[in-house]
Symmetry: C2
Subunit: 208 residues, 2 copies
DNA sequence: CTCTGTGAACATCTTCACAGCT
DNA sequence: AGCTGTGAAGATGTTCACAGAG
């Protein structure tokens, strides 16, 4: 399969949500125009995105909601279940542990770790916070697919190195600091402070 | 000033963090190559980004850490303080309320609201959760600059309409659903489930 | 007639490469 | 010599516009 751009993949995720809404409403087909108006993009954009994986639509009609949703789930790797652990059981880690949208998409939280004795042993949405000293052993035995980093900024880079050394290939970082991952490791960051700064920029230039 | 691309602004935020690190270390100049290696981009990219706002560097030497940091703060609108309210005092709202990185950047949380009686009156990092029925009155009196949406997905769009009608121009949405804002309103979304799906996609195609 | 699929045009973003200042 | 600033080239992403299937 050829290379799909990140912006395209991002839109595929959105399309999937719209398809699921349509399915819930019992609708069986959807047109590129429908998807476009739901997502605020152009219909040509939608068709280009979908044409990456062959001709799935029917001319004059649109796309089969079920077939398209299935195909997108396949592309995104959502047909399987992903084992996820969270490191850091502070406010953000705790919010992530109980975040419904993860489970709905097949991301299963199989462990949460912290260094603070006050947090260890606490149950977060059914998962007991474990001592971070058990992390290395658990990485070996559980072999999770993805690690969510929810520790303070200064602890994030050492933690990243630790988990990648243990063979973790996918990391989602919530610490507000840029990290450097070895090649072969996919690292994404959700930086809420940075998003606020982007908002600040837009508001500032809109006023000028 | 001409239009700066979002990707450029995102990098400016990063540069600012590196500049602050440099300042903390007492360093007075920094080269495009230094910034590039810190941020994992090319030095040409850095120079292009910085050249958007004139010639700030000194050839043969680099950029003045202080002058550049100041200029970036100015561009991003970080020289002022922003008044921020949070709607939704669940796990995510609570995590946002105590998130240190916001305060450090001049984003001041001036209110947090919820509909659940069990949450109203609770203190989150010094701010008392107020009844969401007080929201409209407070939007009028406090006139916050930015609203953070931390309510369940189905409540997000109605809330967005409510706050934009009250004159809010900047919204950061944490609900895992795409929203539609009226023109003149800047809306950004942090969608953690979507970020995990992007990770899932990359891991899946890397395996194939 | 409606709506898909897609080459071609266009727009945007990134990298190259080098002139020119210090 | 070192490093910036920037046109030009190259790469990538988006929109247009229309042929063609149903």
């Amino acid at each position: 399969m050829k290379q799909i751009a990140e912006s395209t993949v991002r839109r595929l995720s959105l399309y999937l949500r719209f398809l699921e809404d349509y399915r819930r409403q019992g609708l069986e087909t959807i047109s590129s125009g429908d998807l476009a108006s739901l997502g605020g993009m152009t219909s040509a954009q939608v068709r280009k995105d979908l044409s990456f994986f062959g001709s799935f639509g029917t001319r004059g009609l649109g796309y089969s909601v079920n077939a398209l949703a299935h195909r997108i789930r396949e592309i995104l790797g959502l047909e399987r279940e992903w084992q996820v652990i969270i490191v850091g059981a502070g406010k953000i880690g705790a919010a992530l542990a109980q975040y419904r949208a993860f489970g709905e998409r097949g991301f299963r939280i199989v462990g949460i770790y912290d260094v603070d004795p006050a947090r260890i042993g606490v149950s977060l949405d059914g998962t007991i916070v474990k001592d971070q000293r058990e992390l290395d052993a658990d990485l070996q035995s559980v072999k999770p697919d993805i690690v969510l980093i929810a520790v303070p900024a200064e602890a994030a880079q050492p933690l990243l190195e630790r988990v990648t050394k243990a063979g973790i290939r996918g990391v989602l970082n919530f610490a507000p600091t840029p990290l450097h991952a070895p090649s072969g490791v996919t690292l994404r960051s959700v930086d809420m402070a940075l998003e606020l700064e982007l908002l600040s920029y837009t508001l500032t230039s809109a006023m000028a």
